[in-house]
Symmetry: C2
Subunit: 277 residues, 2 copies
Amino acid sequence: MYEYVEALVAPQNLKNAMLYSLQAGGKRLRPMLLFATMEGFGLTFEHGIPVASAVEMIHTYSLIHDDLPAMDNDDFRRGKPTNHKVYGEATAILAGDALLTFAFQMISDLNEGDVTLSQKLLLIRELARAAGPEGMVGGQVADMEGEKKSLSLSELEYIHHHKTGDLLSYSIIAGAIVAEATDKDIENLREFSKHLGLAFQIKDDILDIEGSEEAIGKPVGSDINNEKSTYPKLLGLEGAKKKLADHILKAKEYLYKVSINSEKLELLVDYIVYRDR
Amino acid sequence: MYEYVEALVAPQNLKNAMLYSLQAGGKRLRPMLLFATMEGFGLTFEHGIPVASAVEMIHTYSLIHDDLPAMDNDDFRRGKPTNHKVYGEATAILAGDALLTFAFQMISDLNEGDVTLSQKLLLIRELARAAGPEGMVGGQVADMEGEKKSLSLSELEYIHHHKTGDLLSYSIIAGAIVAEATDKDIENLREFSKHLGLAFQIKDDILDIEGSEEAIGKPVGSDINNEKSTYPKLLGLEGAKKKLADHILKAKEYLYKVSINSEKLELLVDYIVYRDR
């Protein structure tokens, strides 16, 4: 992924700021979902690398902008100073803009031996929906507005569905598009990914209560202290755990309808339930 | 253009912030260039509207982010409070992100009766290059870095070529792509547009000295007072005027090589030279 950025004809400081956050690591859950889906359809993962990189760039841009003083005002992420603490706010804003735009460039430059024109266009269209005002950015705005009040379960689901769910879904859908899956398989994977995305978020909320500070990299209980609406707050801790189990069950029901070797995707589902960070 | 935003399934406050800046007006130079190019190739402008809207959205997002406190810290633009003064910084950042992403969504959703898959993909690829790290965002970073030192003519040209030139060029290239122009015509239009973009910027610098405060909407001499590198500073006022004339001449030379009715594009070239704001 880094070599695509390094090859850009652009100011070095901008490239450094883009690379800094891309290299900060993280779980790489989105690329793993994309690769697992492709492999489930019998493809090797290699020619999914540019698409997976594009998704990780979108995810990374959203973290850079989220961390800004005007947004969450975070000084650290994954144990390292946030982008704007190192490069300054102006460059951090622009590094985010650059990663977002470059993601579309990467997909539009995909090797035409690997994907057809119509696959490429579908990858772009779905990405724009997942990342834009009807997806991630819309979820982010709803989340900010939600901080001022206590939310209903459906409002909370709207936020998570879009803020984090849409890009997780995209990772799976993109793998299916690259693998030329049928429309029916894609629709079942879409339902699968929606439940998976909500499960992922509920697990995050549970970890905020039960996790170890060392593993999750931020103070335990920070959601409770800042009065944020969470699943455990709305449903109780046991209620949240039951909700998590429900979504995992439904996710697997949809997954089993797909003509796919689901082994690796199931491993990722289990990882989401059993992870400690 | 506004109806595309109004139709989005997204938080109302986000849509309002997007619309606020889109509706702030401005010269609409990019859509005019796109339409003039299409008409030059004998098309009516109507089915260029979504592409023109996408370009104007990219331009508008760049203005919203430029005006932020961490960037130029402007309270007013075109006589109205800037986006972050009305909606707050966080929403302004996200409205910019949403406009940028939605521009790609709009092009990927173009009616396939109007453009082929390969035209659509070329429109996306060129837009990503023009707007991203190798284009507008790269130019913006170079401009910020350039504020700290006095620049050579070639450094100044690099900045303007990318910061404002690339998106102006894109408007013309996009019109040519929609009109299915030949590669040769597109390359000549690209050269035409590069000279036009530099001419536009030199004229801006000259207006900062000779313009009327009322017409240009900001204090005359603001570039001189903030020690920014400009063409008049590097070349003197007369030198800058000569440079402007040179670029206009070269622009027209390239334009005359294109198999196009160049009447409307020439009117826009003249507008750039003779405008008072």
